[in-house]
Symmetry: D3
Subunit: 144 residues, 6 copies
């Protein structure tokens, strides 16, 4: 029988979001917090059918950028979004998409985290398939 | 030549997000606000290649649910998300996905808006293909 | 066997927080949302031992005042706080206590809701046991 | 002797922010809340020398737009900003200035309130001294 | 005569919240900020009768967890909550109680601070009187 | 012809807000983010006529203090506010003005940043023209 906890663990494993150090670090004060994260956030919510993991991560990324001040979690979800199949360029675009709603400060902060994530994966510089290189004259055409 | 304003209008048209009443209502005080929304939010950001419109709307929905207090815009983006191809069930799941991050009050508010949007489109009740009907015994299986 | 859902319902019943209209209103779009609210918010969190219900509501009230824009839930938790044994004067003081952290606008909004809640219960005007009546000269003594 | 309360009342009077209905409405539940607003928010903070009232209101407007969900207070501070000498066009520009930080949804909401405030004062449409009329071709020049 | 400042200092002393380094650090730029904190936040608000200090701290903790980004203050209020009589287990439960409203990221951040506070007081690991140890099988019973 | 990008750069230069390290640091992942900041935040918004730069910065400071968690940007705007002509004492007062709306924690954080900014400019301690020195007896007069 697949219980909620097992389902949550399985989803985390698919996402490459293994039990983080934060979970273990709180074991001697509130082990239930980690258990509830696995059971509820992943078992009850993330593992639900109806929307694939990569697109679920897009919602989460929009939420965490807007919340602010949750850099560890935002970084973790960038990692799982990539693990779920989002391409690096798509991650960058998702962060850009938050601009008119979360504002420039929050988006600059998020993009800085994204750069660290991509750098650690050896993915920099991003391919220029649809590159927005600095050599492109601002305002020339519009197709950026 | 496709300028930023025209590109923004074109993207809004694809999304079925025609110039809203809010835009016109502010014409006698700050017409630039609407112009900048078209040029920047849609022309410079939404119309960027690299991430399709439906997935961009997932980021925006995550952001707006978390912001709170922006019901007109949240409702409008639910509309454009559906117009961009997101299925009703997927919209519901996207809102559910915000639960561990934006909390239950914001998500209940968002789901209430979603219900109005789907109701107005004659899409209620949602199909039970992967229905989470109340007849399902809580906690029985877990696959929800 | 007491499952999470039953435990959540029981806690809601103790709090006089019976299944609200909001829960039923979403039954044809996302019945799981209500189920998760009962199972997680009440069964997994509120019903935990270690802190009594009234004091749990104080934490929630502080959170909801600060969040803003969640008036239905804030009002509901004021109701359950009173049902859990918090005295009317204590509710007022709890809202005042948020002032240096959530600011005056949020607190004025919360106090307006509290007045509606107390008025509907026939509890106005509040007893002057330790009343801060307008007849007290501002700044005279300080013991308020 | 000018005490804090009197100083706060005096500042409110200068701003045309007389004791609002909200203050009186809470008299039978928490009269201290209004007293503290007068004493602290106006007596201790707003009435401080070192920055004139109109510029203080600019800070407050930036804060309230960003907070969201505090429309009564945001509207009230738009009124007092105008009473303190801010010109209508300057108020509009102040709201526009929040765009890159608070985002479009919050700013659209604020501009809608500003329109109501200006309309009630018979100040619409705004003069076109440096008007951003819709007849100006987007992107033509840039001086907007 | 007990003035507001003295009353605030007295309340801070009861709470073990002596004038912090932050207060002194700002003395050469804005000494009034600290003065107002003592007079208003503690003298006018915290020292009010009608709700005991420990329960006031529960409201503040709910507010600060939700605000986010105010770790020094959140940690300080965890300290004063314990000083005011809240038991360590109760502090942990108060933080857990914020989960459905402030979300997992904010609560994980708060719990990490709480662990530092309890560790510095030599209170780890928490007693297992009603311990949620990892040895407890998830989902077995429900009474947690 | 002055385009949006050039106008934005010009405004940044006037403000002494030259292209920051953050802009360059993201060049290999999202150069468009910096470009949009220059074009939109400065070219389209900040450089608009109708409100002078220093007063625009007051709005931004109110917004950023309230947002929280955006210390690099808040510090940068304190710098540009001073460069635009705001006097050090006026900057301090602007931050104080946020107290009743953003609360003490956010304001203490902002004042700490302001102290660093003023210290680096050799402007501490602030002149006592309208000094709020600690030697002034609290509550004596009120004129602070």
């Amino acid at each position: 029988m697949t219980g909620r906890y097992e389902r949550g663990l399985a989803r985390q494993a698919e996402l490459g979001a293994t039990r983080t150090e934060a979970y273990d670090a709180l074991a001697d004060i509130a082990p239930d917090l980690s258990r509830l994260a696995v059971e509820f956030a992943y078992g009850d919510v993330h593992a639900r059918p109806g929307l694939d993991a990569a697109r679920r991560e897009l919602v989460v990324i929009g939420a965490l950028i807007t919340l602010g001040g949750v850099e560890p979690q935002l970084r973790a979800h960038m990692e799982t979004a990539l693990n779920a199949g989002l391409r690096p360029r798509e991650l960058v675009e998702a962060i850009m998409q938050a601009l008119p709603y979360a504002g420039f400060p929050r988006v600059f902060g998020a993009m800085t985290l994204a750069r660290q994530v991509l750098d650690a994966r050896g993915l920099l510089p991003l391919t220029t398939g649809n590159c927005r290189g600095r050599s492109v004259t601002p305002d020339a055409e519009g197709l950026r």
